[in-house]
Structures are given as structure tokens and as C-alpha cells.
């Protein structure tokens, strides 16, 4: 494609200021993104995909640090449910993250040093505003759809509430309209693990090239448990021992589940920035879409004519089905066209990232229904 704005490994510096919910502004905001497929001449086939907490713009391309395929390669691609033969798919790294978009690890132009903890606390809506500015850059006035799972679903819900005219359909998978006390509690455990690591140094660790890896790994381990189900863990690991015949009567990783979690923690710190983890979990904890609309969730959806599709998974205890049902009730109250299904899966919250034929069928059918 000749147009340099489209393709893989793209980056843009947004013009002007990004005004933040916290009252501050960011200037010179960089957004790293990728696009797949051809934008129709009328721009009517654009689909924005919003990523989860630790994901990034590599929805359909090989990850540069891990070498793994795109995080939603089962959902997005030629002939896939979100078909890039017929759609132009855009996925951008959220602000606050660490894969090329402006975040706490970026250089503050006013000091020439990394922002670290001087980076402003951002919200889900701030992420969405930055995405809208990216769409301005791409010349896309209205999205055919915005699609997201988990934190991506929070952004997807924020889209019609923030830009009612700019989105025609909304897909929200394994997500919620607000963080509960339990959600906040788990995130706080993770943040405290990072901050308790002496290498965190009040967030000012970038120049030491020795990040708080131990703290971030513990944060990831705790969070990872919430992404799985008890049944899934039992099926995968049970009480099986790791590469040994008997318990070691020590504190090595005796159990396979311990070894697995340690691996999850260690591999995470190679690809993620600890301060980004603090900022993005904060944004999720601050998310309460009803609160932004006078305390009534239905009010968030009254201005938009968009259609909605929600999917939950029966073993997801991070954002359980009841949270999706709250959203559906609000959509009904607002008179919006809504689809919702709870799918069965043994994989807990992470089910949305795996190849789930029924989810694929629902998403594909929903998107086709809006053609």
C-alpha cells in the first residue's frame, strides 16, 4: 500500500494536546499501531480493535519481542471472523503502555528524561480519546465496529459513550462496565508487589537498566491466577509435581502450577514495563462507566445509535457473566439493539484469547448483521 499511514509497525505523533480526565494534558503523544486490510473509499469498513491490559498493537502480526503470532490471530485475518479481506482493521497500543505509544517510560519533552511517575494518571476514556485522534490521522470519521475483550471491552464500551456518532457497532467480550472492589483489590496486590521491589526506586529505574523484575513478576503471577479458572488449573496441573517423584520439603517449585506461574511471571518482565503496569491497572480501577454518566449506566448509551454485542464466559470469575448482564440491562433500558450470550469454556477469563468457535460465530454473525 502506498499510503504510509497504513500497514504494520506504524507510528504517529498526534498533533496538539490530549486533554486528560485527570485535568492535565499530554503533548506530542505518540501512538504505535498496525492496520490490516484495505480501507474502503468511503471509509465505511474500518474496525478498531482495542487490546487488553498487557497486550499491544500486534493483534495480527508477530510480536517483536516474543516472536509469537498476533494475540488475536484466531479472530483477525483473511477469512477470519473479523475478516481483513473485507475490512480495514486498526489496532493501536494504548497510551500509558510500553510498546511504542507514549507512556511512563517515554521521554518527557519538557525535561528530556523519562516521565516515570511524573506521567499523568490516565483513564480508559483518555485511551479512547487518543484512539479517536489516531482515526482523525487515518481519515476515518466513523467506525463500522469497535471490538475489545477485557480492558479492550472497557474501551469498546467507552467509545459510543464518548463519541456517539463515530461508531456503528460495538463488541464487548469478557468485560465489565466498572471495576469491582475485588478487581481493584487484585490490582492493588500487583501494584504493591512492584512498589515493594527495591529496584522500583520510586519509579525512577530507567537509567539503571535494572528494572523491578521480581516485583513485576509477582504482580503478573497474582494476576494470571485471575485469568484462569479453578477447574482449568485442576485439569492442567492438579497436584502434579514438577520434574520430581516426591515432594522436596523445601521451597523450590515442587508443584507444576508453581513452575508454570513462575514462568509466566519471568517471561512477562521481558516484554513489559513495571510503571506501565501501574498506570494501566490504575486506569482500569478508575473505570466506572455509570459514574461518568450521572450514576446511571443506561445514560452512557442514550446518545448513540450503535448496536451492541456482548459475550461472557461461564468460568470467568474476573469479569463474570453478571457484569455483562448489568450492561445488557442498561442497553435494554436505553432501547439499544443488543445481543448477548454466555458461552461455556473451561478456560476462565482467558477464553476470549483462545480459539472459541462459538465466539467466532457470534462475532462474525453480529458484524455481518450490521453490513
Amino acid at each position: 500500500m502506498d499510503d504510509q499511514r497504513f500497514g504494520l509497525a506504524r507510528k504517529v505523533t498526534l498533533p496538539g494536546l490530549l486533554r486528560l480526565d485527570g485535568g492535565g494534558t499530554l503533548s506530542g503523544v505518540e501512538i504505535a499501531y498496525e492496520t490490516h486490510g484495505q480501507l474502503a473509499p468511503d471509509g465505511g469498513n474500518a474496525i478498531l480493535i482495542c487490546h487488553a491490559l498487557t497486550m499491544d498493537q500486534h493483534v495480527g502480526s508477530v510480536h517483536p519481542r516474543t516472536g509469537k503470532p498476533g494475540w488475536w490471530a484466531a479472530m483477525v485475518g483473511p477469512g477470519k471472523p473479523i475478516d481483513t479481506d473485507t475490512h480495514c482493521v486498526i489496532c493501536s497500543n494504548v497510551i500509558g503502555s510500553c510498546m511504542g505509544s507514549t507512556g511512563p517510560g517515554s521521554i518527557d519533552p519538557s525535561t528530556g528524561q523519562p516521565y516515570a511517575m511524573t506521567f499523568p494518571v490516565i483513564t480508559i476514556r483518555d485511551m479512547v480519546r487518543a484512539q479517536a485522534m489516531l482515526l482523525d490521522h487515518l481519515g476515518i470519521a466513523t467506525l463500522k465496529a469497535v471490538v475489545g475483550g477485557s480492558m479492550g471491552g472497557m474501551q469498546a464500551l467507552s467509545w459510543p459513550a464518548t463519541f456517539p456518532e463515530r461508531v456503528r457497532s460495538v463488541v464487548v467480550i469478557a468485560s465489565t462496565a466498572r471495576h469491582t472492589a475485588q478487581n481493584i483489590a487484585f490490582h492493588e496486590v500487583g501494584r504493591q508487589a512492584v512498589m515493594a521491589d527495591p529496584k522500583w526506586r520510586g519509579g525512577d529505574y530507567y537509567r539503571h537498566d535494572d528494572p523491578p523484575a521480581a516485583g513485576l513478576a509477582v504482580a503478573r503471577m497474582a494476576a494470571h491466577i485471575t485469568y484462569l479458572s479453578e477447574a482449568g488449573l485442576t485439569e492442567k496441573f492438579g497436584r502434579k509435581l514438577q520434574a520430581r517423584q516426591a515432594k522436596g520439603f523445601g521451597f523450590d517449585a515442587d508443584f507444576q502450577v508453581e513452575s508454570y506461574l513462575r514462568h509466566q511471571g519471568l517471561s512477562f518482565v521481558d516484554r513489559f514495563d513495571a510503571n506501565s503496569y501501574l498506570y494501566i491497572t490504575r486506569a482500569m480501577d478508575y473505570f466506572d462507566l455509570a459514574e461518568e454518566h450521572g450514576g446511571l449506566l443506561a445514560n452512557a448509551f442514550r446518545q448513540s445509535a450503535a448496536r451492541f454485542c456482548l459475550v461472557s464466559f461461564d468460568t470467568d470469575w474476573l469479569y463474570p457473566t453478571i457484569e455483562s448482564r448489568h450492561i445488557v440491562h442498561a442497553l435494554n433500558a436505553a432501547g439499544r439493539a443488543a445481543s448477548f450470550v454466555e458461552l461455556s469454556s473451561p478456560y476462565g477469563h482467558d477464553a476470549f484469547l483462545l480459539d472459541a468457535p462459538e465466539m467466532n460465530r457470534v462475532v462474525e454473525g453480529f458484524l455481518r448483521g450490521g453490513a
Binding site: H329, N332, F340, V341, R361, G369
Partner: protein, 197 residues
């Protein structure tokens, strides 16, 4: 369009005004909704309890939410639909009286269809066989039937009368064909009522 629909749905489809807003409660795989949308330009929304049915309906582009008529109707505003439809679902509700109230609150009018438990074949099965009837119309055994509140046409007539609900129309079916109101409680397998409060 109506030829391929279940007979009670065909009756309902034939009496919904073009361009109306419809909530189909217990919409199954969305057969009625699809027919109404495609043939009459109806804005049809659905509620269905079974996940596989919901996935099938959403897969054909229909706005259907998974939910339970007993529990998930409260969020819909008053008179937000021209018609609320409850087909072959009343007898499965835990609180059919409450669901009917909700139907008449949400819809300006309501269609209700149900299998008639006083049909002669059902009566005969109970009278002669002494067993809970298992018929083409009621194919499940007593222990696995979803039908927990069996109702007859005369029961339903008395029920709406007591609750001062207006009957705007009533259709009776046996062997997939319409029949008259006379003797319907004995001779009709299905009934469809159009109600208004």
C-alpha cells in the same frame, strides 16, 4: 414466509404490523424474528434462555440477549415495544402471572401462545392410561419437561378475565390448521392470544 414457521408463529407473524417494534421473549433460534425482519421490516429484539439458540440467532445477525423471562424483563422501559411476544414459553415460566404483567407493561400489545393441556389427546392419556401425557405436542417425560405450569385454554381465558386484560384476538390450532373457538378447549392443540391492558 410464514409457510416454514411453526404454526403459532405463523399466526403471530401474520398479525404484526409492518415496521413495528417487537420483543420476542423465548425467541429460540430467532425464526420468527428473522421472518418479521426480512419480510415486514420489523425491528425485532429477542430474549432466549438457551446459549446455543442465542448463538445461532446472533450468528444470523439478530439482536438476541441470553436471559430468563422470569428475571430479565425488568430493565425494559414501559411501552417500549409495539408487541411483546411470548410463544410456547408461558408454561415454562416460574411465575407466569408476573411474566404476563411484564409483557403487558413492556409491549402496547402482547401475543401469547401455549400448548393446550386440555386437548382431548392429553385428557385421554391421563384418563385411560393414568400417566402424564407424552404426545407430539408435549414430548418430554414428567421429570424432564420444561413445562412446569401446564395451562388450558379455559384456564387462560379465566386468568386474563380476572386480571382485566383485554383479548383483542384469539386463534386456535389443531394439526397445524386454524379452527374455530367453539370447543377449542377440547379440540385445539395450540392457542394464540393477542392481549392489551
Amino acid at each position: 414466509m410464514t409457510a416454514s414457521l411453526r404454526p403459532d408463529l405463523a399466526v403471530i407473524a401474520g398479525h404484526v404490523a409492518a415496521g413495528a417494534r417487537v420483543l420476542d421473549i423465548g425467541c429460540g433460534d430467532g425464526a420468527l424474528m428473522a421472518a418479521l425482519r426480512d419480510e415486514r421490516g420489523v425491528d425485532a429484539r429477542g430474549l432466549e434462555i438457551d446459549a446455543a439458540n442465542v448463538a445461532a440467532a446472533v450468528g444470523r445477525g439478530l439482536p438476541v440477549v441470553q436471559g430468563d423471562a422470569d428475571r430479565d424483563l425488568a430493565g425494559y422501559p414501559d411501552k417500549s415495544f409495539d408487541y411483546a411476544i411470548l410463544s410456547q414459553t408461558l408454561q415454562t415460566c416460574r411465575a407466569p402471572d408476573h411474566v404476563l404483567d411484564e409483557l403487558l407493561r413492556i409491549g402496547r400489545r402482547a401475543f401469547v401462545s401455549f400448548p393446550n393441556f386440555a386437548h382431548w389427546r392429553v385428557r385421554l392419556s391421563l384418563l385411560v392410561g393414568g400417566r402424564m401425557p407424552v404426545t407430539g405436542l408435549l414430548p418430554e417425560q414428567w421429570y424432564d419437561t420444561p413445562n412446569i405450569h401446564h395451562v388450558t385454554i379455559d384456564d387462560f381465558r379465566a386468568f386474563v378475565r380476572e386480571r382485566q386484560v383485554t383479548v383483542e384476538g384469539a386463534w386456535f390450532l389443531s394439526r397445524r390448521r386454524l379452527r374455530g373457538a367453539a370447543g377449542a378447549n377440547l379440540l385445539a392443540e395450540h392457542a394464540v392470544f393477542l392481549l392489551r391492558r
